[in-house]
Each structure stands twice: as C-alpha cells, then as structure tokens.
C-alpha cells in the first residue's frame, strides 16, 4: 500500500491525536517495562500510580500553588515516593520466593484496589479537569487541522523522555549497573552492586515516570478513579507488543497503540479497543518476547 492510499483513509489530525495518545501511554508503559526488565516484577498498580500523579498535580494547582510545572514535578515525585514505599515494604520480601512472580502480580493487584479506594475516599468519584499552562494555551494549525499547543508539547515531551532514558541507560555509570543487574542479578551482586538499593532506585524511576505521565496528561483527559484501570490495560498491551523489559519497545508499542486507538474506529466499530487487543494476541502467539527484547535496545 503506498502512502497516498493510507492518507486517503487517515487524516493528519488522526495521526497527531494518535501520537498524543501514544505519548501519554508511553510515559506509563516505559516505567512498567523498566521495572519488569530489571526487577522481573509486573506492576499491576502502575496504572493506579499514573492516576495518583494526575490527582496530586490537580491538588497542588488547586490548593497550594498555581504553577503547572511545579505541580507536575510534585505529582511525579509523590508517585516515586509511593512506589518506593510499596517496593520496600511488600515486593522486596517476595524476590526470593519460588514462583514469586505471580505473588508479586497479586500483591500489586491488591494495591490497585487499595489505591482506587483511597483516591475515591480523598477526591470522590467525580471527574476533574485541569487547565493547560497559560504559556501553552494557544492553538497550532497543521495541514488544515488545529491542535492545542499543549497536545504537541506532550508529544515532544515523550520524545525527550525517551532520548533522556536512552542516554541515561547506555551512557551513564548507573545505567551500566542497571543493564548489568537486569541481565544477571547474581553476578552483579557478586561484583559489588547493592542490588536491593538498585531495585528500589529503578522502582522509584519507573513510578516517577508514571506519575509524570499522569500529571502531564491531566489537561488532556478527565481525571477520575476509573483512569487507572483504563490505562493499565493499555500499558499491558503496549509492553507485550513492544517486549516486556524493552524501553524502545515501550516507545514503539505506545505510539502504535496510540495510532490504532485514533485510527481504528474508522475501520471497524470499537476498533480502538479491538485492534490493539488483536495485535497483542498476535504478538504473544508468534513472538512472545515482543517486537524488541532487552533493556538497552
């Protein structure tokens, strides 16, 4: 199929919308994938983390200080701290356990229920909306369609985060420790890496990214207690398509799923739900390790 045929079905607007959906999904999926790649833990509560990020950012702008950027940092940091508490308190005891992977999945699922209820208790069930920062509250016109500048900013942010993570993992000393521990935990430990501390640091980073994603997405979506459930399923699909543990895979997977969600409904009803699922099933069956494998790729 040549390009013009594709463009006959798909407008530029759909592609931008798809990339912006993909960008916010990337920020949650990359943390999920990072944590799985290094710790071997599939964090069911990662969607709930994303949701906390959005709520904390909302609370900061509404009650503390009306500065969007500080609110985003506060949201990301708060989620990072929550992640560290959960990892140290409840996931760390399970590393040594035989068949610990399913136990970790069940424990983090327990936190989905807990966080969901705590959020409902604190903020209620009604949806909230948040304003984009004033500096980005204008529109941009591309190929005849108008987009809010903030939407384009979030797409840019996803690319920046991807580039930053790639540099961090491949070029820094800490990144080398992360790669080494992810490929052989015992060897890294024998070579003097403080593995438990590294695990906690990686869990912090992954949680921080989820919180960042949640806070940055708050102006693009309504924030309600159901938010975490929606995004965790999408994030699971993404990391399976991209490859559990691969950051680059999370990026490609997120953008693909974002585009499928934006374009899918034009081909079949509910295509935004069905097409990503079908893609995930196909990947799981024919390439269970995902399109990309390994943490450094």
């Amino acid at each position: 199929m040549d390009l013009s045929v594709i463009l006959w079905f798909v407008s530029i607007a759909d592609i931008v919308i798809g990339l912006s959906l993909g960008s916010r999904l990337f920020l949650i999926a990359v943390g999920l994938s990072l944590i799985f790649g290094v710790l071997g833990v599939l964090n069911f509560a990662h969607g709930a983390f994303y949701m906390i990020g959005a709520y904390v950012a909302l609370a900061v702008t509404n009650h503390l200080i009306d500065n969007f950027w500080l609110a985003v940092v506060a949201g990301a940091l708060a989620v990072g701290v929550v992640g560290v508490l959960i990892e140290v308190g409840t996931i760390r005891p399970l590393y040594e356990r035989a068949e610990g992977e399913l136990d970790q999945l069940i424990v983090t699922f327990g936190f989905v229920l807990v966080i969901h209820e705590v959020v409902r208790f604190v903020w209620g069930s009604q949806p909230y909306s948040m304003d984009a920062p004033a500096s980005l509250a204008f529109s941009v016109s591309i190929a005849g369609s108008t987009f809010s500048a903030y939407r384009l900013f979030v797409i840019g942010a996803a690319f920046v985060v991807m580039a930053g993570l790639w540099l961090f993992v491949t070029k820094t000393y800490f990144g080398a420790l992360v790669r080494g521990t992810s490929s052989d935990r015992e060897m890294a430990s024998m070579l003097g890496v403080d593995v438990p501390r590294l695990y906690t640091a990686v869990f912090f980073l992954g949680s921080f990214l989820a919180g960042l994603g949640g806070a940055l997405s708050a102006p693009l979506q309504s924030t309600s207690p159901a938010l975490g459930d929606q995004v965790i399923i999408d994030a699971f699909i993404i990391v399976v398509i991209g490859g559990l543990g691969s950051m680059f895979g999370a990026f490609v997977g997120a953008m693909l799923v974002g585009l499928m969600q934006a374009i899918g409904p034009q081909f079949i009803a509910a295509g935004h739900i069905a097409i990503p699922f079908v893609a995930m099933v196909i990947v799981l069956l024919f390439r269970p390790e995902g399109l990309f494998g390994g943490i450094g790729e």
Binding site: L42, V88, T90, R92, P93, L94, E99, E101, L102, D103, L105, I106, V107, F109, G110, F111, V112, L113, V114, H116, E117, V118, R120, F121, D229, I233, F236, I237, V240, L244, A269, A270, I273, A274, F277, V278, M280, V281, L284, L285, P288
Partner: protein, 392 residues
C-alpha cells in the same frame, strides 16, 4: 508444598479418626451439612440471596482454581466464561421462550427453557474456551495472565458493541424466569427460596464433579505439571494438551456459575465480562488458600460475608474493596495458606485441647490452651521482628 499437604492429611486423618470413634461418620457430617443448607433457605430473604450468591461465587472460584492452584496457571480473564454462561442463558430465555412454550406447553416451559439456557450457556463457553485455551496455554506465568486478560477484555468489548443486536450493549439482557406449573402446583422460579434450592441442586453436584476431577489421574497430572512442567513432560505427559483440557474443564464449570448468576441477578450484564469480575475468583482463591480444595469455597465465603459485614457500616460500605486489597496483600506476604489453612490449624489445635481434656480434665485443657496460645503469639511476634531486622 508436598510436605505441607502431608501434614494436613495427617491432621485430617486424626480428625476423621476422632469423629468416627465418637460416632461422627461421614454420612452424618454430610447430613448435617445438608440440613444446614435446608435451614438457610428459611432464613430472611436477603440471607437466602446472599447464600445463593456465595454458592455461585464458590463454584466460580473453585473452577478457576483448577487452573491456578492445581495446574499453576493464573488466569485474569475467567470473566469471559462467567459472562458466556450468563449471556447464553439470557439469550435463550429472551429468544426461545415462546417457541419452547409451543412445544412443551406453557406449564413447564420456564423450567425447560432454563435447562436449555443452561446447556446453551455451557456450550457457548466451550465454543469460546476451546480456541482461546488452545492459544493461551502456549504461554506460561505472567504471559498467560496477560493473554487471558486480553482475551477477556476482547470479549467484554464485543459484548459492549452489541453485535447483531444479540447482547443489547451496555444495558445487558434482562432475565425473567417466569412461573412454572407442574401437576397443578405453581411456583416462581425466580423466587429467592426456589432459586436457592435450584442453585444448590446445580452447585453441589458441580463441586462433587470438580472434586472427582481433582482426585482422578487427570488431577494428579495437573499437580505434577504445577510442580514441574519439565518433569511431567519427561514422564510422557503432553503438558500443553493437558493444560488445554484443564483450561476447557475449568471454563465449563465457570460457565455453569455464570448461568446461575444470570438467574440470580436477573440480568446478563457486560459487567460480568469485565476484568474486575475476573479478579473475584483471584481474590477469593488467594484469601481462601489456593493449595486446598476447599480454599476457594472458604475464600468465597469470606469475600461475600466480609463484604456484607462491611456494608452494615455506611461510612465503609463504599470502600469495601480497600479491605480486600489489604487482605490480599497480607495473605500473600504473611500467610500463603490462606483462610482454609488457618481453619485446618485451628482444627488441629482444638483436637490437641480435646486431647489435654481427655488426659487431665478442664484444668489441663485450659492450661494447654493458654500455653499454646502464648507460644503461638510469641512465635508470630518473633519472626516478623527478625524479618524487620534483616531488612534494615
């Protein structure tokens, strides 16, 4: 795992020995249980409803545990089979009731339609489970959990889309069970008490059937696969095929539970297919104890009655999921045997107290109870402190 089961088997053996010596034969136990079941039917209407729901969820969790506890595969998509049963039943009741009445007469038509609906529900579930299972069992552990989750949500989104007007979208299909008349006696199938007996008449044989599956050579192979798929394969077991068959059997029984749920809730709702419904047997089984046959039953009991207990406090009612989240975390971290394991320990302890009573009367029994209780408390206090110490 195996040593734990032996210890428990010994305890059950000791308990059974005591019971038989004192005239408490298995038959008497069974009769007592049946009497209890009949008595529940004459309780307040809401209690009858709650116990009916308990039986359905117990069957749901028990069937789920065939795959999780016995074969080692954690499914996060069993709601698709629960909904398959509900929708099979609901669609037959909606579309075939007049035709059935033409054939068998209006008297027993509702009952016949219910039976047809049940068969249709289970067949629909098999239709989904055979291909889905064939694809899913190729994967293990977390990947299996993810692919079942994906299939489950696919079924959910299909139901929401209302294909060909079959599923009625987000509203679901209303289920009306109608009035049956046999030999001049009319009874409403949807009556809480009638439906309670109907549920018991389906659930009890189903539980027995699952028990037979578990204790059969088939079940032994399941356990062998759970302990070590490689060794099972080395012994000549076709691991993938066996997992597939277990998947299908598990799904069929979940379908039966779904059929019963449609009649109880009077609706086949898309919520039955949502992944939060898939979580119910996971929660019930983990809390109850996945390594015991009765674990999911105990867990379903805890699930429904704790939820009911919480609902008595209006301030907490809306947040009952919080308690299950905390219970789930606590059980996995500190008490992997679950509530069923706890009950067996309590049973063993009561027998020890009884033994002390036989030897030295009331004083000895009280002394033993006090000693062992303080020893137990000291012991549980101890390890958690040292664990905290190691963590530092």
């Amino acid at each position: 795992m195996s040593t734990g089961e032996e210890g428990i088997a010994d305890r059950i053996g000791a308990f059974g020995h005591e019971a038989v010596r004192n005239g408490w034969t298995t038959e008497r136990f069974a009769l007592l249980g049946l009497l209890g079941l009949v008595l529940v039917a004459f309780g307040p209407t809401f209690q009858v409803y709650l116990f009916t729901e308990f039986m359905i969820i117990a069957l749901f969790a028990l069937a789920f545990n065939l795959l999780y506890g016995y074969t080692g595969l954690l499914s996060f998509g069993h709601a698709m089979f629960f909904a398959g049963g509900s929708y099979g039943m609901a669609m037959v009741l909606r579309d075939l009731t007049p035709h059935v009445a033409d054939v068998v007469g209006s008297g027993i038509a509702p009952l016949v339609t219910f039976g047809l609906g049940a068969v249709a529900g289970v067949l629909l579930v098999l239709l989904i489970a055979i291909p889905v299972g064939w694809l899913s069992v190729r994967l293990e552990e977390i990947y299996f959990a993810l692919i079942t989750l994906a299939f489950g949500m696919l079924v959910f989104s299909v139901i929401i889309q209302n294909p060909g007007g079959l599923t009625n979208g987000t509203d679901g299909i209303i289920v009306t069970l109608g009035i049956t008349e046999i030999a001049g006696i009319e009874f409403r199938l949807g009556d809480r008490q009638t439906y309670y007996f109907l549920t018991a008449a389906v659930v009890l044989p189903s539980v027995y059937a699952i028990w037979r599956v578990v204790t059969s050579p088939f079940g032994t192979v399941c356990k062998a696969i759970r302990e070590s798929p490689d060794r099972a394969a080395a012994l000549g077991v076709d691991v993938t095929y066996h997992r597939w068959m277990t998947f299908v059997v598990s799904a069929a029984f979940v379908g039966v539970a779904g059929v019963l749920m449609a009649g109880l809730a009077n609706v086949a709702s898309p919520y039955h297919a949502h992944w939060t419904t898939s979580a119910i047997p996971v929660v019930a089984t983990v809390i109850g104890g996945a390594t015991f046959f009765a674990g999911p039953i105990v867990g379903a009991f805890v699930f429904l009655y704790v939820r009911w207990g919480i609902s008595r406090f209006p301030a907490l009612e809306a947040h009952w999921e919080l308690f299950f989240g905390l219970m789930l975390i606590g059980v996995v971290l500190y008490f992997k045997q679950g509530a069923a394991g706890g009950l067996l320990m309590l049973r063993g302890w009561l027998l020890d107290v009884r033994g002390a009573y036989d030897r030295g009367g009331t004083d000895a029994a009280v002394a033993y109870a006090r000693e062992s209780a303080s020893a137990r408390l000291g012991r549980t206090g101890g390890p958690s402190e040292t664990e905290g110490g190691e963590r530092e």
